[in-house]
Symmetry: D2
Subunit: 364 residues, 4 copies
C-alpha cells in the first residue's frame, strides 16, 4: 500500500535529511524546527530568480568515484576524469561563480599548493583560463583560504570527536579542514544561497568517498538559531563580525552555542591602536557595504572579556596580502588590489586603513 506517486528524493533533499539526522545524533534537537524550515532565500529578486538555476547545477553534476583529500591545501577529490568530463563539470561549477573561498579540485594527483606553486597556478590560469592539467579541475577561488587556515591550525586543540559550528562558512573550505581533523559533527551556517549551493556541490563531489565524515550546512543566519544551544565544543567565526551592527549581541550568541570551556575561533578585520580605537566606516570599506565595527585587537579582546570569555589569546594579526585575496577566473569581479589606493597600498580607496585581520582564540 505504498503511495505509488512518490518520486525518488534528489541528492539535495537527501543531504537536507542527512543534516536533520546529524542534528539528532549531535543532540541538537532544539535546532530541528529551524533546520526543517530553513529555506534558501536571496537578498533581492534578481538573486532569488537564480536559485532554481543553482539547484539544477547540483542535479546535472556528474557523479565521479574517488578518494576525498580534505586535509591538504586544496580540498578535493582524487579521481580519473576524461578531458570531456572535466569540461562538463567545469561548465556546471562555473554557473556557481563567483567562488570566494577555497581552493577545491577534482581530478588526478594530490594537489598541494605551496605559495609559490599557487602563484604559478595563478599566472597560468590568468593567461590561459584553463586548469594546469587538462584532466584536473581546480576551483581557484578569490581567497587562498588555506593560507588563513595555516595561520591558525597549528594552535588548535585536538578536534577529534568534536562537535563544531562554523558561522558563515561560505563554500565550506574551513568546514572540510575541520572535518579532516576528525571532528564528529561539523555544521556550517551559511545564509547566502549561492555559497550554500557551492557547499552542496562540493559535498556532492566528496560524497563519492564513503570514508569521509562530511560536514553539514543549513542556509540560515546565526540569529535564527535557537537559544540555549550550549552544545558545541568549538565555534568558528571567520570574516563575519565586521558585518554585524551589534557585535556584543553577536558575540553573546556565539558564546551561547559553546559548552562551558568550549573554544571560540574568531577572525575579523581590525585596525591598529589602543583599547579605545574603533573604526566604524561611515560609508563603504574596501568597497563593501554593510561594514560596522573594526576595533583594534586590544579593543576586541576587551570586548570578549566583557562578554565573559576567558583565556583570550591573539593567535595571529596580519595585513591581508594581494596573494591571499585576488581576482581569479573563478571570481572575475574586482578584488583586493582594486580596493586599495594604487600609490599607497596601506589605504583603501575610501581612505581607511588597508585590511588587517586578527585571529583570536577564547574560551566560553
Amino acid at each position: 500500500m505504498n503511495s505509488p506517486d512518490h518520486a525518488p528524493k534528489s541528492q539535495l533533499a537527501e543531504f537536507e535529511a542527512d543534516c536533520l539526522r546529524a542534528l539528532i545524533d549531535a543532540e541538537l534537537g532544539s535546532w530541528l524546527a529551524m533546520a526543517q524550515n530553513a529555506q534558501t532565500k536571496a537578498k533581492d529578486v534578481k538573486n532569488q530568480a537564480l536559485i532554481p538555476k543553482w539547484k539544477r547545477v547540483l542535479e546535472r553534476m556528474p557523479k565521479p568515484t574517488g578518494s576525498a583529500r580534505i586535509n591538504q591545501s586544496a580540498v578535493g577529490l582524487e579521481t580519473d576524469l576524461s578531458t570531456a568530463q572535466v569540461s562538463h563539470l567545469t561548465a556546471q561549477l562555473e554557473q556557481l561563480k563567483p567562488w570566494r573561498k577555497g581552493p577545491f579540485y577534482v581530478g588526478r594527483g594530490q594537489l598541494i599548493l605551496t605559495t609559490d606553486q599557487a602563484l604559478k597556478l595563478d599566472r597560468v590560469q590568468q593567461e590561459n583560463s584553463e586548469a594546469l592539467n587538462p584532466e584536473t579541475l581546480l576551483i581557484d577561488t578569490e581567497w587562498r583560504s588555506d593560507l588563513k587556515w595555516d595561520r591558525l591550525a597549528a594552535h588548535l586543540p585536538d578536534l577529534s570527536g568534536a562537535c563544531v559550528l562554523d558561522v558563515g562558512g561560505g563554500s565550506g573550505y574551513h568546514a572540510y579542514r575541520i572535518a579532516g581533523l576528525g571532528a564528529r559533527f561539523v555544521f556550517n551556517l551559511e545564509p547566502s544561497p549561492l555559497f550554500y549551493y557551492q557547499f552542496m556541490a562540493i559535498r556532492q563531489l566528496l560524497s563519492a568517498d564513503p570514508k569521509v565524515n562530511l560536514p553539514h550546512a543549513l542556509p540560515m543566519l546565526m540569529s535564527e538559531a535557537p537559544e540555549h544551544s550550549a552544545r558545541f565544543d568549538s565555534v568558528f567565526c571567520m570574516g563575519v563580525l565586521y558585518h554585524r551592527a551589534d557585535p556584543f549581541g553577536f558575540l553573546q550568541q556565539l558564546k551561547g552555542c559553546l559548552r562551558p570551556g568550549g573554544l571560540l575561533v574568531l577572525e575579523t578585520l581590525v585596525i591598529e591602536g589602543d583599547q579605545t580605537q574603533v573604526l566604524v566606516p561611515e560609508g563603504r570599506y574596501a568597497q563593501m557595504n554593510n561594514v560596522y565595527f573594526l576595533p583594534s585587537t586590544q579593543a576586541l579582546m576587551s570586548w570578549l572579556t566583557k562578554c565573559g570569555f576567558t583565556d583570550i589569546r591573539l593567535i595571529d594579526e596580519s595585513d591581508t596580502s594581494l596573494n591571499e585575496q585576488r581576482q581569479t577566473p573563478w571570481m572575475e569581479f574586482h578584488s583586493l588590489s582594486d580596493f586599495l589606493v594604487s600609490a599607497d597600498q596601506t589605504r583603501t580607496i575610501e581612505g581607511h586603513p588597508a585590511p588587517r585581520r586578527a585571529v583570536i582564540f577564547a574560551s566560553a
Copy 2:
C-alpha cells in the same frame, strides 16, 4: 576534544531520537518541531508527580533477549526467563497499572488466546494473581483488543510498506499488529503519559528482537500536529471520536493526514437509529466524563460524506461484550459490568443505551 561530561543516553532518549529519525525517513519533516518539543504532561498535579516514577520503570526493566511475536492475539516476546526474572519484571510493569489495551506477554511459548482460553486465564488470574505459567508474564489488560482487531483485520488492504498513523493508540497494541503486517512506519500519537510509557515499556522489551520494525510514538494530541501532513497511507482512530467536542474539526484533521486515496479506519461508540439520531450525554456516559457525540452509524457515515470522504463502508457494528472489556488484575478499577444496569444490560447506569461500537472504513 569531546565534551567530557556527556552522559550516555537512556533507552528512552534513544527511542525519542529514533522517532525523530523515523519522521525524517518518512518525509514528515513538518512534524519535527512538535516532535522535538513534545513532552509528557499529565492532566493534573497528582499524575504529573508520577511521571518520574514511570520513567524509572523503564530504566529498571530487565533486558531479555528473544523473538518478538507481534501478529498473534497476545503481542509479546518469546524468551526464557526464570521465575525470579518474571517476578522482577512483573513488579516493574505493575507500576504502570492500569493497563487498558492489550494483551501482551513475555515468556515461553507462543501465546494464542482463544476466547475460551482467555476466559480461563482470567479465572485463574483472578483467583491467583499469577500468570498461568510461572515463567510467562501475561499482561491481561482491561480490553481484549485482539477481539476488536479480529473484527477489522480481514477487511484491511495490504499494508506492507505503508506509512500509518494511529491516533490515540494507547499502549500500542494495534500499532504492533499494524507493524506486524509489514507497515514501514507506524506512528502512535498518545497524549496520556501513562499509556505513552506503557508503549515505551513494551517497545523496550520487543526491541530485543532486531528483526522487528518497531512502531514509534509521541506524547501529543492530534490537535498539536502540523497542518498539511497529507502523507499517511492509512490513519487508524479507534475509540477517540466520542471524546471530541468538535467531531467535524477532528474528522477533517484525520483527513488532512491522509494522502489522496488513503484509508481511514474509524471506530467509535454509536447508537441505533436513523440519520438524525445523535446522542450527546448531558452528563457522564458509562461513568466516563467528557463524552460528546454518539451518532447513529447512518449519521456518522453521513458526517464522513460531508467531510469529503468517499467509499465509506461499515465493517462491523456490535455491542461491546463483557468478555471484551472487563476488570483484570492489571486493571483493578471498575469496568464495563459495573457501568451497566445489573438487571438490564442494555442500559448504562446513567440510563443511556449500552456501549455499541462501529468500525467504518473510508477513503480520503
Copy 3:
C-alpha cells in the same frame, strides 16, 4: 511643529477610533489588539475587490441632520430630505445590496410597520421600486428583523446601562434596538465586510443625532476574540449557531464573554423531536452551504446545560413565515419561498424540514 501632511480623518476612521475608545471605557482592553488589527476581508477575490467601492459609499453619503428613532419597528432617522436628496442617498445605499436585516428608513414621519402595513409596503415597492413617500427612503430588507425582535423583547430584563455583545449582528438592526433600551455599550461582531459597511452606513446616518449612544462594530469573527473577556452583561447570538461546525466550542466562547450571571440570547434553526434528534444536512439546507447542526429544541437546551449554562428558558419556537423572510427590492436574490417545495411548504427543496427557529435565554 505639527506634522504638516496629516490628512483629516475619514468618518470611517473616526468610527474605528470611537470603537477603540469605547472598548477602553468598557474595560475591554484585552480586545484592543484584535480591534486595532481587525480588517475587513472578504471570502473571495471577487468580494475583496468590492471593498473599496463599499468604502466610497460611506464617503459619498449625504450628511442629513435629524432625530434618530431606534426603538420602533423600522429603525431610522427622522429628517427633511428633498426628493433629489432621497434619490441620491438611495443610489448610494443600493450599492450595498443585498440588505438582509432591517428595516431602516431615512425621511419624514416616524415609520411604524405593522405586519399589514409591511405587506402593503412590499406590494407598493414591488410594483413601483419606490418608497411609499417620495421624501422617505425605506430600506426594506429581506428579513423583517422587527418581527424576530418582537418575539423576544418582552422577555428581556432591563438592559439599561448594560454592556452587550451581538455576535454576527449583520447590518446592526438588533444592535440598534438594544441601544434603544439604554444599553451603555453595544458591540456588533460582524465578519462579513458588506454587512459591516451596511452597519457603518446606518451608523453614519444616525450619528446625525448626538443624543443617541450609537452601537459599535468590528469586522471580526467571534473566534478571533480574546479569551478571558467575561465582561458582558448580555451576549446575543442570532442566526449563527447552525453555521458552526463546532457548536460546543462556540457555545463555550459565548459563555466566556459573559460575566457570571450574564444573559445569553440564542436564536438558531431547530428541528422537531426529542433530545436525540439532531439534523446535520449532508449537503445544502435551504440552499445555504455551510450548515452543520440543527438540533431539536430539547437537544439544544441539553447542550446548553452540558456547557454549564443555567436557567435555560425557551422563549419562542416558530416556523419562519414567508412574510418575515422574502425577496424585496433591496434583496433581489432568491429568498425563503424559493427554498421551499412549492406544493409542500413544510419541506426545503433538499427535502429537509422547513426552517423553524427557537429563541432561548440562558444564564452564564
Copy 4:
C-alpha cells in the same frame, strides 16, 4: 442590568486608560496591544516585591487642588497646604526614593531655582532634612534636570501641537517641560517600575489643574515598541544610549519612531577624541554596571550619519558638574562625587575619563 460588583476604577487605572485613549487620538493604534499588555516588572525579586507598596503610595496620596507650574526650573503644583498635609505627602513620596530626575515641588509660591539658590537649598536640606518653607515640599532630586534642559531648550523648534516621545524619561521631568511648550501628546517610555510610579505620582498631583495637557507614560522598553511607528514629530532620548549594547539598532529604532523630517534630541555620555575614539568600559563606569559604548562626539555624529539622520548638530558638550548630579535627602546613595577620584576629578574611580555629555540634534 449593570454588573453590580464593579469596583470604581483607581486613579492609576484611570491614567492607564487615559494613556490608551491618547494613543488612539494620536493615531498610534499600533501601540495599543503593547500598551494594554505593558506591566510594571522589576529586574529582580526584591524590587518586584516592592511594587504593591509603590502602588499604595499613589492610592494614599492627598489630592490637593491648585495650579500646575510646568515651565519653570522646578516643576510643581502651586497650592495651599498645611504643615500637616506637607508632612503626610512627604511621607508618601519618600517611599518612592531614590528620586533621580527633577526637581518637583508642591506648595506655596512659584519656585524658581537659580544655581545659587539650589546650592543654598541643598545646604539647608542636608542640615535639616526639611524643605525651606514648612508649607512647601521640594523633591530635590539627584539630578538638577533643569540645568540639562536649559542647555538644550533654547535650540528647540516650536513644539506646540507636536507629538513627542521621551525614551527612558524616568520620573518625567523633561516630559513635563515638553508638555509646557504646548506639545499635544507627550509619551514617556520608562521600563523601571519605580520611576514609572514616580511619574504617576507627580501626574496625580498635577492632574489637580484641569488646564494642563498632562504627559502619558507606559512601563515598557523601547525594544517592545511596534515597528512602523513613524509618527512622532520629535523623539527625546537622554541618558540611555550608553546603556545599550546595540547602539546602531537602538538609533535605528529611534529613527523608526520619527516622521520624515522629525527631530531627534539625543543626549549621552561621550569621550574626547577623534572619529575613531570609542570607549567600551570592560567593567563598571562611574560605578554603573551595564555601560557599553561611549563614543567621541565626532564618532557619535558619524554614527548618526551612517543611520541616515541628516542635519546633525552638536548643541552642547560639557563635563557633568558636581552641582548638577549630587546626593540629596531624596537620593541618599552615592552620587557623582563618590564616583570620581578625589584627587583628580577628571577620572572615575575605575580610571576612565570623568562623565562628559553631549546633546545632539538630528533630523530623520
